[in-house]
Symmetry: C2
Subunit: 355 residues, 2 copies
């Protein structure tokens, strides 16, 4: 141990200049060699790579960023509602971020997260990201039927992938869940079980996927030749509170529903809570089919039938698509719609009394 070991001065990180000095080549050659440009001789390339490995060279992201004008950031807009008592909100985002991060692993891109509080906030964030070059690509969800972010980004030729589709015919990369199909399947299942008065607990109508679900719901009735129980459609934020309140409201109408189609875990928990507090038993007095974000419906009492799609897979696809988009790939080639799998945990016909 050296006698005077005052705060070990860390050696400055090696740069291409360091490598130039070590190898005797110019920084231009170093730069080209490191990026495997064909103009530098293979033998010198190898030499330079070796030197780089030896000194532990790491390209300085800031230098690259300035010169290339890129930020090496993949931005994700994460919605968080401001409502005080609505803290379940956005639980699935952990999975999305995890998936995106997986896709980005091993690339030069980092993931930056921009929290947005509503649609307007999201549009503003997107604009800031484009204008200031805060990121090289963007991922976002909560797509509106007519979403200003999609318009903006398409217009600016800015690489992005949306989770969800808007209702305009535009070319853009996206990943989605087949909500029309899922809502149809859930409704058809209940109709087949003998239910006629079916409630749909749905998101607000401005969301594109709310429309998709309405479509699926209507189609199931249409195909069964039965008039849809349109008066049992409720729309709201997807909070637990909303789910609970919906049940309380719906069970007071003249012909109350015998079944519920729920949109996510949070509302489902609210619906179950509401039913419980009114003394109704799931599987006996009413049936509930849900869409499951975080695979937790198995633990509800009783376990209920759900449609399930591992959200992390969507996240990973979002990330992969974004990488390709940032490399200039045609957005037309970057679209995928996932069909969730049905997990049956109940007969969904009031224990056989309906079918």
């Amino acid at each position: 141990m050296a006698a005077h070991m005052h705060k070990t001065r860390r050696a400055p990180a090696p740069t291409i200049k360091t490598l130039a000095e070590i190898t005797g080549y110019s920084i231009a050659t170093i730069s080209k060699a490191l990026r495997e440009s064909p103009v530098v001789a293979p033998v010198t390339r190898d030499l330079i790579f070796k030197a780089a490995r030896e000194v532990g060279y790491q390209a300085n992201a800031r230098g690259m960023a300035l010169r290339t004008g890129k930020s090496f950031q993949a931005a994700v807009l994460m919605p968080v509602t401001a409502a005080r008592d609505y803290e379940w909100d956005g639980v699935e985002y952990t999975q999305i971020l995890s998936g995106v991060s997986q896709a980005l692993d091993g690339t030069d891109y980092r993931m930056s997260v921009h929290v947005i509080r509503d649609a307007a906030d999201g549009a503003e964030a997107a604009r800031r990201i484009v204008d200031q070059g805060l990121a090289d690509g963007l991922i976002f969800s909560g797509i509106l039927a007519d979403d200003p972010r999609i318009d903006l980004l398409v217009d600016h030729h800015f690489p992005f992938v949306s989770m969800g589709r808007c209702r305009k015919d535009l070319d853009y990369a996206h990943v989605d869940i087949d909500n029309e199909w899922a809502a149809h399947a859930a409704t058809a299942r209940l109709l087949a079980g003998g239910h006629r008065r079916i409630a749909l607990v749905n998101p607000e109508r401005r969301f594109s996927y709310a429309m998709d679900r309405l479509d699926g719901f209507a189609r199931a009735f249409r195909e069964a030749g039965i008039a849809a129980s349109a008066d049992l459609i409720v729309e709201g934020d997807l909070s637990t509170h909303f789910g609970r309140q919906s049940v309380i409201d719906l069970l007071q109408v003249a012909e109350p529903p015998t079944a519920f189609v729920c949109i996510n875990e949070s509302t489902t928990l609210g619906v179950l809570s509401g039913l419980g507090s009114l003394g109704r038993q799931v599987g006996v007095d009413v049936d509930v089919i849900a869409y499951d974000d975080i695979n937790v419906s198995a633990y509800f009492t009783p376990p209920i039938t759900t449609f399930y799609q591992p959200i992390e897979v969507l996240g990973r696809t979002l990330g992969q698509f974004l990488l390709k988009r940032m490399e200039g790939e045609d957005p037309k080639a970057l679209r995928q719609v996932f069909r969730p799998t049905l997990i049956e945990r109940q007969p969904d016909n009031l224990g056989g009394r309906l079918a």
Copy 2:
């Protein structure tokens, strides 16, 4: 409208050079003026600001970053376990990110999120962030009793704020929940209600807060002069599955517990599910007290008593502390331990039959 309106060529974003040309000052003066340096005359400063506003000047983050060596990134390590069926995991992180983001709002800092899969991964991520200067500050949670990240960052004088305290006596900024207190309070409450056989559903012992909770649990028994039901302590990942399995295991012992102290929402749901499937009724056969991450226990059937702390507040504090740390403030001044509030929803004495 111009006749030939081919793809509107966007004017390049104004730089300090643009401002220099407009105002006639040198770029040096522009730079100093914009950062309100006292060496530039107030009248010219105002002039330059006016020009900047007029052309919509926005400092180029990449240029700043290169010159200053800063990244203007505040990094957050977000843990996500790989386990396939454990998707509830990390639900509270949305709230943390939201809080951090709120604190960062209006500053030059952006939030980047690094997903980590375990403790080793986290240590590696921290090292990469320090070595490559990927961020100017770091926030992380899931603190181990002896956490290598804290050692590393303290050693490197790298600004960070941890959510949770390690069990070493070091000077570092942190935010925490008073887990010792909460576990003590929950246990004492159950003891006062007449319970003697109390189960503790706890995280793995390597986590610092697991130790804190063990301490609080033990202290409650000690203060009551009763031998702790140490054989009813279970430790595991905090999945719903673990909660459920714990109940199934614990109810098979010779003297089974009459009450459960749970650590988070996820395990609590599992515990309730397990109790339900064994036909035990909460509030009748057993009592459950939980710690509530996302304020959803009110919707469990029946609602249970919890300790609750809005996690977003912690997130905000983490962000605020990090900003101060990055400005060089003494970490000793940046510590805060929150006591969650008790939300009573049950008598917690088996409906009066114990007290």
